[in-house]
């Protein structure tokens, strides 16, 4: 039986990186993986709707943190997708026989060990399978506080859920993990990329501009959508901010934790200071969620409250912009 050291993390993708790399002796904290992978982001996509509600994201798209972290740290991954279920399960079993823990993409809806209330059709959840016992697979799901298991049938469903993005049985595992990695250059590259994504993408829905974009739309929610749908739209903004595997203010705090770690690593007090500023931006996001939760609960919406929420977002955008502008001027 393969031993796998499971550590609970806040986010699935950075968590799998941290756990999987750690298995091969490359010890990297979750915030470090998140920072090197330039995971922090914001996007509001009114045209990408799930159940009629537009999407909001507080981090970069699924898979990006992984590929960037691998590239910057010199980790070589082998990754496969499958069109055939039997082949996919056989390939998994073979790797497990060789003692290789395998990361994979899955749909939350089919994970029986998740609290039922969280099981919506979200197809980009990452987890690690590290063994098999009878009909059960042994799971290290980074969101869970301890290891768990899943039966074959549900694992197949989770690996082959259709939809967007379709996992298509995607599995991945490191084939070459360097033992000694100097994190300094990867950290610098990660910071530069995060600043670019937060500040420079010339599309209004993305980065700091995206927060303002959402703010401007939000103030018109009640008049354009009516009370019920306005509350639904707003509820989704909060859920995407806080729900497991996504955690919005959570991402701000995680990135702040990264800046603190990076500050120590590079011996730059300035990075730690910027981390503190980002912490207070995260607190701003929390205040926003708190106020938004109240508006959601009240149901009977008035333009006034949505206007207030919109102003809160604009202020958060200003502060977040300041943080990343300052970060982008740090000479590393």
């Amino acid at each position: 039986m393969t031993q796998f050291s499971h550590t609970q993390t806040a986010h699935c993708e950075s968590g799998v990186i941290s756990n999987l790399f750690g298995h091969y002796g490359l010890h990297i904290s979750e915030p470090m993986a998140f920072g090197i992978g330039a995971g922090i982001f914001f996007g509001h996509l009114p045209f990408v709707k799930v159940n009629g509600v537009p999407g909001t994201t507080y981090r970069i798209w699924p898979g990006a943190i992984f590929s960037r972290a691998c590239k910057r740290l010199g980790v070589e991954m082998e990754s496969h997708k499958f069109s055939n279920v039997d082949k996919a399960m056989k390939a998994l079993d073979q790797l497990l026989d060789q003692g290789v823990p395998v990361g994979m993409q899955s749909s939350v809806y089919y994970l029986p060990y998740f609290p039922e209330s969280y099981r919506f059709h979200f197809n980009a959840h990452n987890l690690v399978i590290y063994g098999k016992e009878g009909d059960d697979y042994l799971v290290s799901d980074p969101i869970m506080d301890t290891v768990t298991r899943i039966d074959t049938e549900n694992l197949i469903r989770a690996r082959f859920a259709k939809g967007f993005p379709a996992p298509k049985g995607k599995m991945y595992y490191p084939v070459n993990v360097p033992q000694e990695v100097d994190f300094r250059e990867p950290v610098k590259a990660g910071i530069a990329q995060a600043c670019h994504y937060m500040l420079k993408i010339p599309i209004p829905m993305f980065g700091v501009k995206g927060i303002r974009f959402l703010a401007n739309r939000m103030k018109d929610y009640p008049s354009k959508l009516g009370d019920r749908r306005a509350a639904l739209y707003l509820g989704n903004v909060i859920r995407m901010q806080e729900e497991i595997g996504t955690g919005g203010a959570g991402f701000r705090f995680m990135y702040a934790a990264f800046l603190q770690e990076a500050g120590t690593l590079l011996n730059r007090q300035e990075l730690k200071d910027i981390g503190r500023e980002l912490t207070s931006v995260g607190d701003g996001w929390r205040n926003f969620a708190f106020a938004a939760g109240r508006v959601c609960k009240a149901r009977a919406a008035d333009n006034m409250s949505y206007g207030e929420l919109s102003k809160m977002l604009l202020q958060i955008a200003d502060e977040e912009e300041k943080v990343f502008r300052r970060l982008s001027t740090v000479k590393l």
Binding site: Q8, A10, P115, L232, G235
Partner: protein, 140 residues
């Protein structure tokens, strides 16, 4: 967020067992981690999302009972799917799935097609074939 501010607003949505990890700062301002059993705004939003599902399921059930739509529409809502996603899963175009939501067309669907839908909805073939509407159980 300070470590002692990490929210502990439990509610039954988490079954009291699930703890999420948060990054928060300690007394000296350094980052550490803490677990949380839940947070009020998130609980509100999550419970609102389930209210919505519940309402859609109930509305669709009424429509099936009135003979306006077929059980496919009901089970789509019950399985938290929307039309684009259901069409993807069924391997059909959206207009085809929409057609299957007409009671008359539904009755004439092949056993194969019914079996495919039943698999997607996680219900027995016979249940769907007979048009029985299994109750929706909201996570408590």
């Amino acid at each position: 967020m300070k470590k002692d501010e990490v929210p502990q607003d439990g509610d039954n949505l988490h079954h009291g067992t699930f703890r999420q990890l948060f990054y928060a700062v300690d007394q000296s301002g350094d980052y550490t981690t803490a677990t949380s059993i839940g947070w009020e705004p998130e609980n509100v939003a999550l419970s609102q999302a389930w209210d919505e599902v519940e309402q859609r399921v109930a509305n669709t059930k009424a429509k099936v009972d009135a003979g306006d739509v077929s059980p496919i529409a009901y089970y789509m809502e019950r399985t938290l799917l929307d039309l684009p996603l259901l069409a993807l899963k069924a391997g059909k175009f959206q207009w085809q799935v929409k057609r299957h939501m007409k009671p008359g067309v539904f009755k004439a669907l092949s056993d194969n097609m019914i079996a495919r839908y039943a698999e997607i909805f996680g219900i027995p073939f016979q249940t769907l074939r007979s048009g029985e509407l299994l109750p929706f159980k909201r996570p408590a």
